[in-house]
């Protein structure tokens, strides 16, 4: 598909619905890293995040005719990923309850992507990626979704409103409260670090 870069996502899915498999490949190439980033920030586990992204594309493949051009394609695919990520978290919580384990995702050793900026940030007194990510994962699920979609994925309020299926006003206030809560948690974590 040479001219695929000119096509919009909606045109690509239309082609895929008409039986063009190369359009699906193009969709995968466009979204795989974006969704990986989103899923990883949500579950903080590389393997699980990759499974979520694969399952998302599998669902898109199977339910291609379920997409109607009422909403943007990006909204649709992010909704699928968000729902799958929430399911993974729910399963994880149930597993945790079942085994009476006190090891949560926040307590595990996590594989963070290496970031040279972190060292510099510490000197400047800012919070590094690992610390912020740890604080994000501790946020309640609805705050976490909102803050990842807005501040990491840089989606608009309208898109977030469609993805999480909440009114625009709710989304705005949720993002505000999530940012305040994140800041509070980060301050708390810094305080604990100093004590230790």
């Amino acid at each position: 598909m040479k001219d695929s870069f000119k096509l919009t996502d909606e045109e690509l899915i239309r082609r895929f619905q008409a039986g063009d498999e190369t359009a699906f490949e193009e969709i995968v190439n466009r979204y795989k890293n974006r969704l990986m980033n989103f899923a990883y920030r949500f579950v903080l586990d590389r393997e699980e995040a990759e499974d979520i992204v694969q399952d998302t594309f599998l669902k898109v493949y199977q339910n291609r005719y379920a997409y109607k051009e009422i909403a943007k394609f990006s909204t649709w695919i992010y909704t699928i990923t968000a729902n799958l990520a929430k399911t993974i978290l729910r399963k994880r919580r149930n597993r945790k309850l079942f085994f009476f384990s006190r090891l949560g995702p926040e307590d595990k050793d996590m594989d963070f992507p290496s970031n040279e900026r972190d060292a510099q940030s510490k000197i400047e007194g800012k919070f590094d990626e690992q610390t912020i990510q740890k604080a994000i994962i501790k946020l309640p699920e609805h705050f976490r979704t909102a803050i990842i979609l807005r501040d990491i994925q840089e989606l608009s309020y309208e898109e977030i409103s469609n993805i999480i299926n909440a009114p625009l006003g709710t989304v705005k206030s949720r993002i505000n409260r999530a940012r305040l809560k994140l800041r509070e948690d980060l301050q708390e974590m810094r305080g604990n670090e100093k004590i230790n």
């Binding site: 890293n33 990986m36 694969q54 599998l58 493949y61 803050i147 990491i152 505000n176 940012r179 305040l180």
Partner: protein, 189 residues
Amino acid sequence: MISCYQFKTIISQYMDKDISFQGRKSFEEHMDGCPGCKQLYQSILSTKNSMLQFAEMRVSENFLGDLRTKILAERNARIEASLNKGFSLNRIPSFAYGFAAALVAVIIGFYLLEFQTGSSPAQMPPRIVQEKIQQKTPDSENSRTPPLMSRGQYANSENYTDSLEHSDSQNARTRPDFQNNIKTVKKEY
């Protein structure tokens, strides 16, 4: 001048430039006069900017291959399942059940109606139909047809049933020409 609480509620609107001119002015005025709120704003802004610079996560190299395998496996599993299933009630579409139930209800209703009209002597045609019948039936049959009844008498149909038992009008009503007459009059009516 806004309060610290109000400042906190509009902090994201200011950050995302989703605020009115007046709101923006009040926000900045408050920030200039309140060091605590200024620090809060700068701290949140700094975290927000840090998040934008997070390292991008990328899928592994064999992601596409794995996805292709997954899609093929799922497709094969579906085909296999449909071949092995044979007859199953699950494969009958749900609307077929509704249609069958409606059909059965219609058939039962039809038979019930048929049974009622054939056996119940208490059911009489309306007064106007009776009048027409009386006009149409020959004189010989006039003696056999039941007498014209008022609306009140219809309600008390037991008397009418009793009178039928003593007369042979029941036989007259079951005769085919009498039934044909009823049908013709009903049509006209």
